[in-house]
Symmetry: C2
Subunit: 232 residues, 2 copies
DNA sequence: GAGTGGTCTAGACCACGTC
DNA sequence: ACGTGGTCTAGACCACTCT
């Protein structure tokens, strides 16, 4: 009585995906009701639902309560990206990792940082700059602001022993993250830190993390010339 | 008899998330078994499983078959990003969209493109370059290679009527996408296209899409100076 | 109002990895 | 070996939205 081949939600997902790839259903077309798909494939509706969930997440299919499911017409590129911790990235390249703390001071957030934190008032912050090296060559320059109102305990930590990132991840897991990517021109400080010419194009990754709406940290990572980020 | 408040998997997720944020369980700590969590919260195990699924996807929790669930110790930044279609992005800025096709030719893929396609042999391709304008100002330069072996029909399409991206998305939905981000220096062609100085730092987004292992298209989008990508 | 997806439940069995 | 997460099922009810 049990449906002879075992129907996994992945196989159902791939089956439906196949219908779309083979143009049985084209972008804009309406897909059958979940129940009919379940009947056709000989599985439970919940399995179809689970499959559709993933097809929806990747943007291939759109679903509406009364309107059924349809193949997306113009979907944006959507992808799950994973940005490694600098130390992990460098070591996975087979290079030796080291780091140097350039500066560390407690100071109120300047307006630009305040804006990144979506804050109305100037937050008391810990500001740090560091370089991470791969085989002794500068790999990335990190400019970090940590809100002391959200993470007061970090002020007491010896950050030459444990990296700020590591301490934060362990002691104050974040909730939400904003990321931004851009290209900037090396200014004097960056050119010195990354040992490159002034005005060299550099790739910059910015992250702001939150815990229950309270800002934790804003980090600008500026990479060595020629760096390409290929998230997972 | 029914558990009085309705327990949604989202509320269960938030509850568990709250335990972690409040340091009831810290990174590295083991979480209770699904069944015990279900009992504590008064819901079905499947609801806990659904909640855990999301906590796992965002990297906050790690699960192993026999070993139970634990709060992740050092997690990389993981986020779902969504890169809008250029036309949509420009229009959502409240600007008028226009585009100009700079070149179009059928030619074998050069080695660099072949490598991006992970191909062993030189694929026959359609190569196009275009500029997309926002209120008449150059917004992004697009350099696209389409594999004619995977998408032979595109050769017949009038791409001044419908954009290549639109045609591909409608007629050949992709399976898989690789993305890469970098900073480059404006060369002569880009400086002319984007109306900027030579050697200006420019942000570049590269995407390669696939359908069932066959390469569809490789696109390099190079943005106007100062552009910042803030995915969703 | 009615039909669709959205969700929850209770139970069962499977598969993996640790003990 | 055995306990944990992983998955599937069948059924029920809800909520949205289109008609």
């Amino acid at each position: 009585m049990t449906p002879s081949p075992r129907h996994s939600w992945r196989s159902v997902r791939d089956e439906i995906h196949g219908w779309i790839l083979s143009a049985r259903y084209k972008p804009g077309d309406k897909l059958p009701r979940d129940e009919d798909i379940a009947a056709e494939l000989g599985c439970a509706r919940s399995t179809v639902v689970r499959a559709m969930q993933e097809l929806t997440e990747t943007g291939l299919v759109e679903r509406k309560r009364r309107g059924g499911s349809q193949v997306s017409q113009s979907r944006p590129t959507r992808a799950m990206i994973e940005i490694p911790v600098h130390k992990v990235e460098i070591e996975s390249l087979g290079k030796s990792y080291s780091t140097r703390l350039l500066s560390r001071e407690e100071t109120p957030a300047p307006p630009t940082v305040q804006a990144r934190f979506r804050a109305q008032t100037a937050l008391s912050c810990l500001h740090m700059r560091a370089i991470h090296f791969a085989d002794g060559a500068p790999f990335v320059h990190e400019d970090r602001w940590v809100s002391l109102e959200t993470a007061p305990d970090i002020a007491k930590v010896d950050l030459t022993e444990i990296s700020a990132n590591e301490w934060l991840v362990t002691n104050l897991p974040y909730d939400e993250v904003d990321v931004a990517f851009s290209a900037i021109s090396a200014d004097t400080a960056l050119a010195a830190a990354l040992e490159c010419e002034l005005q060299t194009p550099l790739f910059r990754l910015e992250r702001v993390t939150w815990s229950q709406g309270a800002p934790i940290t804003a980090v600008q990572s500026t990479f060595h010339p020629g760096y390409i980020l290929r998230p997972q």
